[in-house]
């Protein structure tokens, strides 16, 4: 049996390593390891809880708003602060466009090259490409001249002999199946999406001062003032720019992303039976109504792929294990800790670098193993869409049924690598259509003369109780995100974040249960073990928020190219 090591896994955020055992061209077992540790939760102890959003924002610069949102919600929950409607609506707009932009970048720039062979685009006929594109979308740039220009640009680039970031990839791999025209269409949209993303995210600059790392979050509200009669505040001019950019975002998602997703998926339908994973799904729900607090995206849990039952979520039932993670709990092994009691005491026990293999029977990752009632859970757009679908959320149901009908598959197809990738598109479209609703609500509210953006009463720490604890939940692009905080004497006493990629990239727990990446890889075919393109497909379908590399080696540590796969 050959052991494949992929480290670094590229086209993700962060540092991720996958080790997998392959037999007869199929993965028999897999281990997911994060190879980087900073210890920010430890660093946070003793600091001002109002600063926590700024610190935790640095967990990730890709989903650059999500930890700020979860953090201010956690502190507000602990201190029982109710924020003004305008602040809630501005946050909803920031969340919505973050999801939309992040999903498009993921599809085109992080995931597409697993399905699209750029080198094949050189052989495409631009006229045929244009008719293919016209058959699925009315996007105005889908013209023969545009596709020809892209192809010429690509040719000139290749002719320099320096392929830069496209060098040394798995081009020509037998698992690539798109015709040259589809490859050219996707390549053209890869470049267009690159331009589009920097435009639409200007919404964060208007409402948040900059992106990445917007800087207008506050415990108790937002710091962007509202005043239609001031040039130094959110006024009609800025609101209309946000409106225009939201329309631009929605247009691209409807006319480019979704048609491309469906077109590409139709060539890879066998991937609807690969990469299912743990089969348990968790969503915290999001988009609170500014008045009632009701969530537009519902919260819930689905177990064992049973879409006849939706279970409620109870924050008390979340616990993290470290039996295969490089940490030690004071209370010893085999037990999970609720985040309020959480500990982050690093204790590396892996091999001394440089190393070839991790000892996957022992501890092998910097990621902890979060479990819900001791069960591993998958989080992310698929979980969010499934929970909404099962709860009867009408907007979600309409889009899911449309996608399933176009691909000619049933709901069971969603439990797969392809289902995960399709659900991200569905989630993106839902966000693209819902975010303008919050902008309209904001404009209406301002029109009524409400300019409030911050609840001031509890800004000064002197107003706080001696002790408080709270949690903040958020559905980030990559899924269910929770921050738990305990405040003592106006300072952070304990802080724990259980992030989407902690759920999904988790190693085994005390019972030996695999995490979602690990479970999803089992059964994945690998045509050429020295070019494990299929591993990237399944791992990227989760949109990991760690960084990675992949080698293929046998159990004695030789490069796989020298190994016979038995």
């Amino acid at each position: 049996m050959a052991k494949i090591v992929v480290d670094p896994i590229t086209r993700i955020e962060g540092h991720l390593r996958i080790e997998a055992e392959v037999e007869g061209g199929v993965i028999k077992d897999a281990w997911s390891s994060s190879t980087m540790y900073r210890g920010i939760e430890k660093i946070l102890k003793g600091r001002d809880p109002r600063d926590a959003w700024y610190w935790t924002q640095r967990f990730c610069g890709v989903c650059t708003t999500v930890h700020s949102i979860a953090s201010i919600r956690a502190v507000e929950n602990a201190l029982k602060i109710k924020i003004p409607p305008n602040a809630e609506l501005i946050r909803n707009i920031i969340i919505g466009i973050q999801n939309v932009q992040d999903h498009v970048i993921h599809f085109y720039h992080l995931h597409a090259l697993d399905w699209v062979d750029i080198t094949s685009a050189l052989k495409a006929d631009p006229v045929k490409t244009a008719s293919l594109a016209a058959s699925i979308s009315e996007w105005p740039n889908n013209s023969p001249t545009h596709f020809k220009a892209v192809q010429e640009k690509l040719k000139a680039f290749v002719s320099t002999g320096r392929l830069g970031p496209f060098a040394n990839a798995y081009w020509g791999h037998p698992a690539y199946r798109l015709p040259p025209e589809a490859n050219l269409m996707a390549t053209a949209h890869y470049l267009e999406a690159l331009e589009w993303q920097k435009e639409v995210i200007k919404i964060h600059a208007i409402l948040g001062s900059k992106n990445p790392h917007p800087q207008t979050f506050l415990v108790g509200g937002m710091s962007i003032p509202i005043d239609p009669d001031s040039q130094n505040a959110l006024n009609a001019d800025k609101l209309i720019t946000v409106k225009r950019l939201l329309a631009k975002a929605q247009d691209f998602v409807e006319k480019v992303y979704i048609p491309d997703l469906l077109a590409i998926a139709s060539f890879y339908k066998d991937w609807a039976a690969i990469g299912g994973g743990v089969g348990n799904y968790l969503s915290y729900g999001d988009f609170p109504d500014p008045v009632s607090g009701n969530l537009w995206f519902p919260a819930g849990i689905i177990r064992n792929r049973d879409i006849s039952k939706l279970l409620p979520v109870d924050q008390q039932k979340v616990a993290e294990f470290v039996d295969h993670s490089w940490y030690e709990y004071q209370g010893g092994k085999g037990k999970g800790l609720h985040p309020w009691e959480g500990e982050t005491e690093a204790k590396y026990s892996g091999p001394k670098p440089p190393y070839e293999h991790l000892d996957t029977t022992a501890k092998y990752s910097w990621v902890k193993a979060p479990r819900y009632e001791e069960m591993p859970m998958e989080v992310g757009p698929l979980a969010r869409v499934l929970v909404a679908y099962v709860s009867g959320h009408k907007e979600t149901k309409a889009i899911v049924d449309m996608v399933l009908a176009k691909l000619g598959v049933g709901p069971a197809a969603l439990f797969s690598t392809l289902g995960r990738t399709a659900a991200r598109g569905i989630d993106c479209l839902l966000n693209a259509r819902q975010t303008p609703v919050y902008l309209d609500m904001l404009i209406n509210n301002i029109g009524k003369g409400d300019y409030r953006i911050h609840a001031n009463e509890k800004w000064e720490p002197a107003e706080w109780p001696a002790e408080a604890s709270g949690y903040g939940w958020h559905e980030a692009p990559r899924g269910a995100l929770g921050h738990w905080i305990r405040i003592k004497d106006q300072k952070i006493f304990n802080y724990q974040a259980v992030v989407p990629s902690t759920w999904n990239a988790s190693p085994r727990d005390a019972k030996g249960q695999r995490g979602p990446y690990e479970a999803a890889l089992v059964g994945t075919p690998v045509a050429k073990p020295d070019q494990p393109l299929e591993i990237l497909r399944t791992i990227h379908s989760f949109d990991p928020c760690l960084a990675c590399a992949v080698h293929v080696t046998d159990t004695t540590g030789n490069e796989l190219v020298q190994v016979k796969v038995s």
């Binding site: 670094p8 955020e13 830069g164 920097k198 003032p225 005043d227 001394k352 440089p354 001031n456």
Partner: protein, 373 residues
């Protein structure tokens, strides 16, 4: 070393200008681009022809980008860059041979691509580092392909023509190095002694400043002049407070007292809300972000001082800076930066400031001389 000449060799036979021309970029747009970056470098307009001439000649240089203890925020900043766009940077201007976030290859093939570049362009390629480097316990807190970040940095930065440390983490250790620095995180200069390193701090760094550094390097064949924290003077030579659009309100004693109050809506000074502009040296007020749309103060939130070494331990976000009116606009970072820093925090913040003083070696003395020509 004449780095400009060095990186021009063997770079593929096309000048940047010719490549741009072949991509349909007009001469007029090319000159416009040169003017923009010349302005970003705070150089006079008379220098534009020199930039144009240099980019006409220089051939698509090789760049590798390493991610260590980071959040990928600086990469995201690069993706938002407009002059030039990331598409132009990656396809036309540079040969980006390694960048884990965008590259198609993974695992063994990715490592092979990096190794090939280090070997073939030894001493000629530019390296960008994002994220800090953990040194504690043999560097086990950060590994790629089984090797520690420290091992990789020594190899790749050590063989580069120059390294640009983007973001406060790569420059000074950043958030991971905040007290109690659980992983022993440091910046590139401290991890790789002897390497030629320019710091471009900020959280994240401003992509326009990064582009300007790259163009400066291509144009003049060396890194721009730096201050004692290793930062380019063109971007970090002036205090935010002195360039701030709200400075008149500070001088007039008009302050925001509460979030959302009348003064806040009118755009008065954020000093009382904890703004660190008086102790921070960065071109945010003029360069701004996302194609100059905004920057924190313009959006109603104080500056947090993110481009100052060890700001994490010395600048609680909402704590007011002491003694601000005592300083004039002629001061620079080397004379007053740390004086502020040490004054801001409580006991453990001061601990951080002290470690900052110890850590931040004045490595820039010679580079400053060189830069002054």
């Amino acid at each position: 070393m004449d780095s400009k000449k060095a990186i021009s060799e063997e770079a593929g036979g096309f000048s940047v200008a010719r490549l741009l021309q072949e991509r349909g970029v007009s001469r007029r747009d090319f000159v416009k681009f040169c003017s923009t970056v010349t302005a970003a470098m705070a150089l006079p307009a008379t220098m534009v022809p020199k930039v144009v001439h240099a980019l006409d000649k220089v051939q698509r240089p090789t760049l590798v980008w390493l991610n260590f203890q980071d959040c990928t925020g600086d990469t995201e900043a690069l993706l938002r860059s407009a002059n030039p766009t990331v598409g132009e940077l990656v396809l036309d201007i540079l040969s980006v041979d390694y960048h884990e976030t965008i590259m198609a290859a993974a695992g063994h093939q990715a490592e092979a691509a990096l190794e090939k570049t280090v070997k073939e362009f030894k001493g000629k390629y530019l390296c960008v580092v994002e994220g800090s480097i953990p040194l504690k316990d043999g560097g086990v807190y950060g590994c790629i392909g089984g090797k520690t970040f420290e091992q990789i940095a020594k190899h790749v930065c050590g063989n580069a023509a120059a390294t640009i440390a983007v973001g406060t983490c790569a420059a000074y250790g950043g958030i991971a190095a905040a007290v109690p620095n659980p992983s022993g995180a440091v910046g590139v200069r401290e991890a790789v002694s002897g390497a030629t390193v320019l710091n471009l701090p900020g959280c994240p760094c401003n992509a326009d400043n990064l582009t300007a550094v790259v163009v400066h390097f291509l144009t003049f064949g060396k890194l721009p002049a730096m201050d004692s924290h290793g930062r380019p003077l063109f971007a970090h030579g002036k205090r935010i407070h002195d360039n701030c659009e709200r400075r008149p309100h500070f001088d007039a004693g008009q302050y925001v007292e509460k979030w959302g109050d009348d003064a806040h809506r009118k755009g008065f000074c954020l000093y009382k809300m904890g703004c660190k502009g008086p102790a921070t040296f960065h071109n945010c007020p003029t360069q701004r972000f996302n194609e100059r749309i905004s920057w924190p103060v313009a959006a109603g939130h104080g500056c947090v001082g993110c481009s100052e070494p060890q700001f994490w331990d010395t600048s609680p976000v909402y704590r007011r800076l002491p003694n601000v009116p005592g300083f004039g606009i002629e001061k620079n970072a080397d004379t007053i930066g740390l004086a502020f820093a040490a004054g801001v925090g409580g006991a453990f913040a001061i601990h951080g400031a002290m470690s900052a003083l110890r850590k931040d070696k004045p490595a820039a003395e010679e580079t400053k001389k060189e830069g002054e020509e």
